[in-house]
Symmetry: C2
Amino acid sequence: MKPNIHDVAKVAGVSSTTVSRVLNNRGYISEKTKDKVYKAMEEINYFPNDLARSLFHKKTNLIGLIIPNSSNPFFGELAFHIESICTSLGYKLLLCNSLNRMDKEEKYLEMLIRNQVDGVIVVTYNRGVLDYHKQNLPIVAIDHYLSEKIPVVGSDNYDGGKKATELLIKKQCENIIHINGPLDLETPANLRRKAYEDVMKGQGKLPITYEVSPQKSREEVIVKLFDDHPEVDGIFASDDLIAAAVITEARKRGKDIPTQLKVIGYDGTETVKAILPELTTIQQPIDSIAKVAIDILSKEIEGEFNNIEFETYLPVKLLEDGTT
Amino acid sequence: MKPNIHDVAKVAGVSSTTVSRVLNNRGYISEKTKDKVYKAMEEINYFPNDLARSLFHKKTNLIGLIIPNSSNPFFGELAFHIESICTSLGYKLLLCNSLNRMDKEEKYLEMLIRNQVDGVIVVTYNRGVLDYHKQNLPIVAIDHYLSEKIPVVGSDNYDGGKKATELLIKKQCENIIHINGPLDLETPANLRRKAYEDVMKGQGKLPITYEVSPQKSREEVIVKLFDDHPEVDGIFASDDLIAAAVITEARKRGKDIPTQLKVIGYDGTETVKAILPELTTIQQPIDSIAKVAIDILSKEIEGEFNNIEFETYLPVKLLEDGTT
DNA sequence: CTGAAAGCGCTTACAG
DNA sequence: CTGAAAGCGCTTACAG
């Protein structure tokens, strides 16, 4: 059986109140007593039970993180940064992979509430999930505006889409096509597409967007794109994984990159930079997103609602390399 | 203030004992009472406090996962699979990124103990961390044998190294060099190196290993390797990220892959397969590793120590593609 | 079929 | 400087 505070008290020959005081360094305790208690704790290998503490304090120092999938490099890196910052602040992280499924998101949210988390960081593209549980739980959303009451932190997707499209134009591409994720989910990628369309129209060009979805895989869509549009000479993909698949297919078809086809991706994770460094891409500041999200969540937790920024869109960076 | 079981009881006009019984579906309760209680819970938006439940039951359904870094695709995918399986079993996951640092691992372990986790899954290459806290906490190690008492689940690293080296030999490589991670950490990659050396020696060839470390980056090491050994025509990298960097550097030097240089990596994550599908690699069964690790941990938690396999090494698979 | 009481492991106001 | 008591939100053996 694990020792508890009474076991420590017995060994040290004091009351459990005193042990608790030593533990929390609270009130006056004689050095002698302190020593006795510390020795007793060590002797019986005592660790305080944070469950009991949390129950009393009504604060768990637990944060829930709901992301679609930590396998994706973007979310894997986001989870890493968020966890690191949480730990440095004394918070612990409960990880939840929702696969972007609303039913899972709701179940996770209920689980987090039952576990009394102090706050939740959520990356969801399903509006409305969070209204479901009417608890007034501190929440911050990443990447996507959910409701007036929920602060959102992300990066400047419109500017990213603009920068990407403009680069292809500057590089003399005549036939620029965009590949995006599911258009029905309200992902931030939709703003990238909007910027693409605006820039194209501004140039008097016709925007064309292909859509990758759970039903149509990256590979399928890209094959169709090349079949439909053999004239394509510039592709802006809404994430780096799609861009990588474009490069693979282009190679198969003997299309040289960047002379015959220029490709630009989106995200610029460390992983992709390591594996495919030649990919030109728009880099999101994942570490800053994590930092700002936790800053805001901490403020919500501490009840400082007055100086909270409700929408933060951090700047993105063009990383130019060999594929353009 | 969040409602508690007494609030529900008051609204429903019953005792809190009865509410608890309804909540746990335990003992006989009249349908009428059940209904009243459910209505009351809904009315005041009640969710049970799992902290209090856990405190009573001395079981939290919390699992701790300590990995080096969820940014790395291998660990990101491992975390994903572990979390998914945990959730399907009613466990919740506390994520810890140790950066392979022993001091962090120890702090995380203490945190997990204080939080009363039911068990811990740990990927560490620092022997001895776990002896530190002498709690008899259910633990399972992934990828690395830590002590007689701790079951380990991994894949067959020796066979992976053997398969990789043999492929390069079969493909007529004359000068095969191996690149490994830090040799002082007892990583599973060391077994891959051992297999490489054995196969090389068996062929009457001299094994040569270059070491990537926190001090010497992948890029640095690879540049040196090519400078030292312009004759190299086969490289076996102990992970896919190193293999990718080899490919990048080879391209810079105008060495054609696979005609002048053949490259094989290790891990075969979904991410790398998506971004660099032409990479030949040895694939680890990440999902099975996760599955078996949790199976074993569950058994430890339930106290079924009799039918636990203490060492499990799952088979790896050669994925042959364009780089060889 | 239902309730009062004790207890899970802590903490803190209150006394002394 | 130290201790007894009440309470955080639950659950369950025991009565009835």
